[in-house]
């Protein structure tokens, strides 16, 4: 496991690594579906689904209604509808996020998924893992581990032609 500088991150190369790992990891698994967490995770999920031939079984989650900071921060201004058009029951769901950090978003996503049914298994994929977990959450597939200063946000962006970049923003 290599620890990269955020400046060294080539999001397209990381995506290729993630895709290869996911393809190998899900080989032979039945009833696979992919669910991305809005917004970066949703872009990744859509591209993974296209590359893996799973576009019919791809969904998107907005975890705003399941977050643990609602009492402190209220509802965000840009909640997007969650869209899951396949049967969650007995499926193996690959949950996809762009950046894995505290684990709180993952927890919210798991809770939301279970309100759609009882999956056989949920696996977690993230493009990058920046550590600093606050909950016992671990990813099954990660393309890179990075250290980012507290107070800064690592943000995935997608250009019009679908290419990914990672940038560091002041949170």
């Amino acid at each position: 496991m290599t620890l990269l500088n955020p400046q060294q991150l080539d999001a397209e190369a990381l995506y290729a690594t993630l895709l290869a790992d996911v393809r190998a990891g899900l080989a032979g698994v039945a009833d696979v579906a992919i669910v991305g967490i809005h917004s970066g995770g949703a872009w990744l999920a859509e591209r993974l689904a296209a590359d893996l031939g799973l576009t019919e079984r791809c969904g998107v989650l907005d975890v705003s209604f399941y977050r643990d900071d609602y009492a402190k921060k209220g509802l965000p201004a840009d909640v997007k509808p969650t869209r899951i058009n396949f049967d969650v029951n007995a499926a193996t769901i690959l949950l996809v996020d762009d950046v894995l950090y505290t684990g709180r978003t993952t927890r919210a996503a798991l809770n939301e998924l279970f309100d759609y049914g009882r999956p056989a298994r949920i696996m977690l994929a993230a493009l990058v893992d920046r550590g600093e977990r606050q909950l016992p959450v671990a990813a099954d597939f990660v393309a890179a581990h990075v250290r980012v200063e507290a107070g800064k946000a690592l943000v995935l962006q997608q250009s019009d032609d679908g290419k990914f970049t990672l940038t560091i923003d002041q949170a």
Binding site: D62, S64, F65, Y66, Y70, A71, K73, G74, L75, A77, D78, V79, K80, P81, T82, R83, N111, F114, D115, Y116, G117
Partner: protein
């Protein structure tokens, strides 16, 4: 002027009226509502946002649809809901409105959903909570007198946006008893704020209040003229219980001049939608053939009302004082 619905950051702390709310807040509510619509199609029709919160439905005036949809909305947000039939309890024993509020606050209420026959009652409650150091308790107006019915206004906007996509090229007609209608007032404020270029009010002189032109509304006493080319028709209930004096000759006469029949509906655009806040008086303001016809979206309005009320409650409850 300070808007008592907003906190110092301009966020929605109470929903008392659509009047004075910026377009951005109306759009935030409508956008959030669209994310709540899908919840009702799931196995588990709940989200945990308001877990552990207590919502008190205070209906000082009768209502079935509004009270029920507020109750369902609160339950789908995982709140505990307490319905008080005030008419049959404290108020009839002589307790004042604010004493009732203080007692319920002492039971750790987090939100009051208030319907009252007196215009301004929800404002009085919100101000009282502020003045007594209880500004963490939120107030949602579920209809006050002739003044406002903001969640009905918002669900009407949601319905229009759902079917027509864009507000900025529409002609909307509100037909009937505008004088007594808090729904009409809330609709007019919402429609003009959201950029509808032409809002029409259609009704007899006796039921058209003064000042509509100043609100940017065109008035018509001839229904056939008023309906020409409209995209949306909002019918209002003839409110017999609010009628005092001889404002109308009879319900039959009213239907002749202002009832929405298939023939009159044909004057509107072919894809016009027909709305009604309910309860409907068939044969008084609307013909059954229209109410049950393909252009009526009256039942979808009820369904959307749940998502809109979920949005309002979750936005308001998440706003700090």
């Amino acid at each position: 002027m300070l808007n008592p619905q907003l906190n110092k950051h301009g966020e929605l702390q109470h929903l008392l009226s659509i009047e004075g709310l910026p377009k951005s807040i109306l759009n935030h509510i409508l956008d959030t509502a669209s994310s709540f619509v899908g919840i009702s199609d799931r196995d588990v029709k709940k989200v945990p946002l308001m877990r552990g919160k207590s919502v008190f439905n205070l209906f000082f005036e009768n209502s079935t649809r509004t009270r029920t949809t507020f109750e369902i909305a609160a339950k789908r947000l995982s709140a505990d809901v307490i319905n008080l039939n005030i008419q049959a309890s404290s108020a009839s024993k002589g307790e004042s409105l604010l004493d009732t509020i203080d007692n319920l606050s002492a039971m750790h209420a987090d939100m009051f959903v208030v319907r009252h026959a007196q215009s301004g009652a929800p404002y009085l409650i919100a101000k009282h909570l502020q003045d007594t150091g209880q500004s963490h308790v939120h107030v949602v107006n579920a209809g006050d007198g002739r003044h406002a019915h903001p969640t009905q206004g918002l669900l009407d906007m949601y319905t229009i946006r759902h079917y027509k996509k864009d507000f900025t090229n529409l002609t909307v007609a509100i037909v009937g008893d505008i004088l007594h209608s808090r729904v009409a007032r809330s609709d007019i404020h919402a429609l003009t704020t959201l950029g509808v270029p032409e809002v029409r009010a259609i009704g007899p002189h006796t039921l058209l209040p003064g000042g509509l032109e100043q609100m940017g509304v065109r008035t018509f006493t001839n229904m056939d003229e008023g309906l020409k080319g409209v995209d949306v028709i909002i019918m209002l209930r003839l409110q017999n219980e609010r009628m005092s004096g001889a404002l109308l000759p009879s319900a039959q006469e009213y239907f002749k001049s202002y009832g929405l029949t298939p023939e009159r509906l044909a004057l509107a655009k072919p894809d016009a939608i027909v709305m009604h806040p309910g309860p409907m008086n068939r044969g008084v303001e609307i013909d059954s053939a229209v109410a049950d016809g393909p252009q009526a979206v009256i039942l979808p309005q009820v369904t959307f009302g749940i998502a809109v009320r979920m949005a309002v409650m979750s936005i308001v409850a998440g706003t700090q004082a």
